[in-house]
Amino acid sequence: MNLNVKFAGMELKNPILTASGTFGYGLEFAPYGDLTALGGIVVKGLSWEPRTGNPMPRVAETPCGMLNAIGLQNIGVHRFVEDKLPLLPWSEVPVIANLYACDAEDFARLAEYLADQEGVAALEVNISCPNVQAGGVLFGQDPRQAALVTAAVKAKAGAKPVIVKLSPNVTDITAIAKAAADAGADALALINTLSGMAVDIRTRKPRLANVIGGLSGPAIKPVGLRCVYQVSRAVDLPIIGLGGISSAEDVLEYIMVGAWAVQIGTANFLRPDMAFRIAAQLPGLLEELGVKSWEEFRGKLSI
């Protein structure tokens, strides 16, 4: 079948994207597969200024998953646009910039700058920064804050589609999704990591210097599927599903509960050719299942 998916003004040759923070700036994976064989590339979260991130250690393995507290180390949006973007095959594969800021103005400034970059296909807004002004609650944990950021980005994004990335660490993810939708989001991506921690009883220290980090990987797939399922029934926006995907089967599980596209995250660490392998295996699996089009399959979970 034709794997092509169109939504939010984007056209992807297949629904396999990569997840921000797990695929570097894309170039790191060029030796392991053909970047243009992917549906799209979401790069590491970008801030206005370069960021050093959190102290080490900042990754730890957990059962069927991992914790990270990288703290958004990145080279800053300017160096990304100047040094990395020109090397990416952006005319053949959509490159999506993941934005990170700690107030609405900063988000808007990032959006404005990126709106002018031809090589950027869309903006993905990471709203998991704590808003200090709002008492430290994360933007992504409060519908009003989420709406604020979405509107600010949307106002400056010009023609670029705005994807809002949601956190699962909330009482009701559909409330945040609705707020982002009402504020103008073109698509939603979910889920970001679950808040978690790990400790070492011998050193009596946390395994992450930052103490708390984000849980990702196969362990969280049930949570990701549930969130996508709930949001896809509550909000009329295309959804990009992620969380624990590590096979073509997992991709179809997400699409079956309502996702239009998916992102491969932690699984890229299991083997750097993972996203390429999954993209290559997808047609065969669809044929085996007798699926003829995305429309016939997407969201078609029979209850």
Binding site: K44, R51, T52, M56, I70, T203, A209, F269, P272
Partner: protein, 291 residues
């Protein structure tokens, strides 16, 4: 000397690699004869991917990421290992059991499938005419086997191996015979003090003759080498063993702070080898990474 290293550390180019390959286990041999599995020593031979020696080939000090297919999701990550030797159809690594990943690797069977990517990272400098001191802390011996074979004048090399398990477990017979060597077991406080004295006098000596010092081993060992190298103004390179999730510069989980660099640098792509004077071996990291 360290131009090569510094170029890599500039975080621009993607180091060449043969990509991600499924290969098979040729042989797994335990080299020590202790009773315990913990801390045991092993040589693992994998079928060498044909692509591995093409192009730029590999250089001693580089490493590979290894993940047996049978691991499914547990452990999750691949594990990094120095390339001990690669040639004659064999990719050899020398490893010690320290946790669940290395413990699981002792169950590998010939013919079993293993995913490997590499060669990764930068390499130790080779200065053909310089007396070169190889400082190995235990399993840190691994890269020096390949290094010794690739060196144009092996008689300029001197290897000092500090070790805890019996020396018989270390495959010193794999080294070219012409290499001078000394081994020192660290069983008690006294041994350690003695080894540290030895280390210091060697480092001081190589500083004097403007020799090259290369070190590979656990963090505390590297710290000791670093301190002495700074003290005697020796030219030393340290191979770091930070925890790695991806090995290719994508996760930013392996970083270390380097003098003169604004952002923490990736040990997997910009290292693992750094000049002793550049790298900050933070105590906090050591406590946590090597319990």
């Amino acid at each position: 000397m360290s131009d090569f290293i510094l170029a890599e550390q500039a975080d621009t180019a993607i180091p060449p690699t043969s990509g991600c390959i499924e290969t098979t286990v040729v042989d797994l041999t335990r080299t020590d004869s202790a009773h315990d599995l913990e801390n045991s020593l092993w040589l693992l031979d994998l079928q060498l991917p044909a692509s591995f020696c093409e192009g730029k080939g590999w250089q001693p000090g580089q490493f590979v990421m290894i993940r047996p297919v049978s691991w499914s999701f547990e452990p999750l990550w691949a594990r990094p290992f120095s390339i001990c030797m690669a040639g004659n159809g064999i990719l050899r690594i020398f490893f010690q059991v320290v946790g669940r990943g290395t413990r699981a690797m002792t169950k590998l069977e010939p013919g079993e499938q293993v995913v490997v990517w590499g060669p990764l990272g930068n390499a130790f400098s080779v200065e053909p005419d310089t007396p070169t001191l190889l400082l190995a802390g235990g399993i840190g011996l691994a890269p020096f086997i390949g290094y010794a074979w690739s060196h144009p004048q092996p008689d300029l090399l001197f290897l000092l191996l500090g070790h805890r398990p019996s020396v018989s477990g270390y495959p010193l017979h794999l080294l070219p015979e012409s290499i001078a060597r000394e081994t020192a077991r660290q069983k008690c406080e006294e041994d350690i003090a003695c080894f540290v004295r030895d280390l210091e006098s060697r480092i001081a000596e190589y500083a004097r003759i403007n020799g090259l010092i290369l070190a590979c081993g656990p963090h505390p060992f590297l710290r000791a080498v670093q301190t002495m190298a700074m003290q005697y103004r020796a030219r030393a390179q340290l191979s770091l063993e930070n925890r790695m999730a991806c090995g290719i510069g994508a996760c930013l989980g392996c970083v270390t702070n380097i003098a003169g660099q604004e952002l923490p640098v990736k040990v997997c792509t910009q290292g693992p080898i750094f000049r002793a004077e550049d790298v900050k071996l933070e105590q906090a990291v050591i406590d946590r990474v090597k319990a």
